[in-house]
């Protein structure tokens, strides 16, 4: 069943939804990456909630003019307008008052959403009994998706993707160094507005599939997940687009396999699964990698301190150190060093006294800053310098 869904063999509607969700995911992931790198991820929350009043107003206007209020392009246009108004309010509140951006975001999202709910109840009382079905845009509803809807979503997603990729250089430049971008002649305020317009477009395109409450997830989660895998910005953008597309594709396919698996929430949960995987397993920034790194460092420190103790003829009591020394065959069970242990301890002691000598050595003392208690000195100094250092040490001993 799942295999059928993944290979697009589960009926016409499921194919439409799957393709639409994939296109949406790629577009949202890509735009979301730029948004995340610009450190304004939560603005999308305000934008998406602010679509609701426009959605309802568009429906009311269409019905008043005698048309069908549920035509997707019309609803998308209305929601884009009100999202834009919400965005304008966030900007105005942040610039004209001393409120911080997060307060402005929270105010706009709750007030616009509240007003949208008022309009929804107006629609309910007008159509008295006849369901307008606008509530489905809160959480998305893919059951009755038409071919034209899927086309609008796919084309919209593709356009957003193209625009984002065409502007990737100025976007990244602004995200990393706003001042530099300005010196390069980029109007950063206008560029931010373009980025927000793309976010708005993704929200509007995603209304039908994931709904306006959960679209934020597709804009934020893939980008955060992708950031774990690379420090190279264009690669983060690419990975984020892939993660978004994968979430959309898997989520839509999975939700097609059973009647009570709503598409939007499934897509979000798959995206979160990708995020959790990245948080745990990504090399470099992942939690497991960090834990391994920490463990390796801990072992090196213990081994070195243990060997130094052996070199000074002191007993070793610490359990982990004893285990490590014995495991490496450097110490016997009764705490007496083996021959190999003695040789290794002598080497560590020499290293330690060379570092101490380095601190007193004229001309070389600045190199002593590289001493972190673990680095071997012969990886820092050239053989000549080492010989010079050893000569100074023996000179001091003679004195």
């Amino acid at each position: 069943m799942l295999l059928d869904a993944l290979t697009l063999q589960l009926g016409y509607n499921a194919v439409l939804v799957t393709l639409g969700a994939t296109a949406l995911g790629v577009a949202a992931g890509t735009v979301g990456a730029f948004l995340y790198l610009r450190k304004r991820a939560l603005v999308s929350d305000a934008i998406s909630h602010a679509t609701l009043p426009g959605l309802a107003l568009a429906f009311l206007v269409a019905v008043a003019l005698g048309g069908d209020g549920r035509a997707l392009p019309l609803l998308m246009a209305g929601s884009a307008l009100s999202a834009w108004a919400g965005l304008w309010c966030v900007g105005k509140l942040t610039r004209a008052t001393r409120l911080s951006e997060d307060a402005a975001i929270g105010a706009v999202l709750s007030v616009f959403f509240g007003f949208g709910i008022v309009l929804l109840t107006v629609i309910q009382s007008l159509s008295a009994g006849r369901q307008a079905g606008l509530e489905s845009f809160l959480l998305g509803a893919t059951a009755g998706m038409l071919r034209a809807d899927a086309l609008v979503i796919a084309v919209g997603g593709a356009l957003v993707l193209l625009a984002a990729l065409a502007l990737r250089r100025p976007f990244l430049m602004t995200a990393f160094d706003e001042g530099y971008a300005r010196v390069q002649g980029i109007d950063t305020a206008r560029l931010d507005l373009v980025l927000m317009t793309l976010v708005m477009a993704v929200t509007v395109v995603g209304l039908k599939i994931v709904g306006l409450i959960l679209i934020v997830a597709l804009l934020i989660i893939p980008a955060v997940a992708a950031r774990f895998w690379s420090n190279h910005a264009p690669r983060v953008v690419l990975l984020s687009g892939l993660a978004g597309g994968l979430s959309g594709y898997l989520g839509a396919a999975l939700s097609a396999t059973a009647p009570d698996l709503p598409t939007g929430p499934i897509i979000v949960l798959i995206a979160f699964g990708l995020f959790a995987l990245s948080l745990l397993a990504a090399p470099g920034r992942g939690v497991l990698a960090a834990a391994l790194r920490h463990r390796r460092l801990q072992h090196r420190v213990h081994l070195r301190q243990g060997l130094l103790a052996l070199a000074h003829g002191q007993p070793v009591y610490e359990a982990l150190t004893r285990r490590m020394l014995r495991g490496a065959g450097l110490m016997r069970a009764d705490g007496v060093p083996t021959d190999k242990g003695r040789a290794e301890a002598a080497r560590v002691l020499l290293d330690e006294s060379r570092w101490q000598a380095l601190r007193r050595a004229e001309g070389l003392a600045s190199l002593a800053a590289r001493d972190d208690g673990l680095t071997r000195i012969d990886t820092i100094l050239t053989p000549d310098q080492l010989a010079d250092l050893d000569a100074r040490m023996s000179l001091q001993e003679v004195r």
Binding site: T121, E135, A223, L261, P262
Partner: protein
């Protein structure tokens, strides 16, 4: 008029007002600590909390619902912190990951489980049902002194009043440390104040207010009241005491005006039905904030 008002309008008005003020109080501190969106995150995760509580207990009794919602709120705060620390991710993005995921999980659980027998759905969670909280036993103003009638007050009213009292007393009792930790965390730390515990305490108060208010009025009001009245009050004054007084005034004003306009506005305008009171209260609070942003004395500094 009197009996109808006391039975049908007074309880929702009081509940709305108390809920708005209970959220606005901790909202002041969240705003000043630049954690305004924590309120947003908390009110989103209340949904999975009550769904899980329903699945575990099988009823929609109040206590398990409140406990479930409170657990979900604390889980969300813990998850945000864990993602932020473990992944070294900025707070906003960590919040976005957390609350959308938990909300999606709540919606999925709700769809997968049989809730047709009980009143539990996403719409209810979002905009509550303020209009239905009526006081059936009231016959007029005299009922306010009649113990038998008072015993039949909507339980939501008692609950939200108690929570408002708890939040107000907690803030009054810890006033100085709260104020210090909010304005100068470093100085508070050097005085030996447990700033981390104070931060957690504020979030817990906010969660308590959110959960109790959510029960009565839905999550839109919760988010709006956490942010709009304190934000408007912030533009009125530079003194914390006055800011809190203004925020309570704005919250009460939004709740009363919102409820009245939602209930009677359409009738005055010639329509028969009323509109969502929760949505209208949020709208009014936004209008008050807009006025403050344009005309308040301290809108810039």
């Amino acid at each position: 008029m009197g009996s109808e008002f006391v039975a049908l309008s007074l309880p929702p008005l009081l509940i709305g007002t108390l809920a708005a003020m209970a959220c606005a109080l901790p909202g002041n501190f969240l705003l000043l600590r630049r954690q305004a969106l924590i309120g947003d995150a908390i009110s989103h995760v209340v949904l999975p909390g009550i769904v899980v509580a329903f699945l575990v207990t099988g009823t929609i009794a109040t206590l398990p619902m409140l406990a479930g919602a409170a657990c979900a709120a604390l889980l969300a705060v813990a998850m945000i912190e864990a993602i932020r620390r473990l992944g070294r991710i900025e707070a906003g993005a960590a919040m976005g990951v957390t609350f959308t995921t938990l909300f999606a999980a709540g919606v999925l659980l709700l769809e997968r489980s049989d809730t047709s027998s009980v009143h539990l759905d996403v719409e209810h969670a979002l905009y509550g049902n303020l209009e239905s909280l009526i006081w059936l036993d009231a016959t007029g103003w005299a009922s306010l002194t009649d113990p038998a009638a008072l015993a039949a007050l909507p339980p939501e009213l008692i609950r939200i009043a108690a929570v408002f009292a708890v939040v107000a007393i907690a803030i009054a009792a810890f006033w100085r440390p709260l104020k210090l930790a909010t304005f100068d965390e470093g100085f508070a730390q050097s005085l030996g104040l447990p700033t981390a515990a104070i931060g957690l305490g504020i979030v817990t108060l906010a969660a308590l207010a959110a959960v109790a208010a959510f029960d009565a009025v839905g999550s839109i009001i919760v988010i709006a009241m956490f942010i709009c009245p304190p934000a408007g009050a912030r533009l009125m004054t530079n003194r914390l005491e006055r800011q809190i007084a203004w925020s309570l005034l704005f919250a009460a004003l939004s709740a009363i005006a919102g409820y009245v306009i939602a209930g009677y506005g359409p009738i005055w305008a010639g329509f028969s039905a009323s509109v969502s009171a929760a949505g209208m209260i949020a709208t009014i609070s936004g209008l008050i904030l807009a006025w403050a942003a344009l005309a308040a004395p301290h809108r810039r500094a």
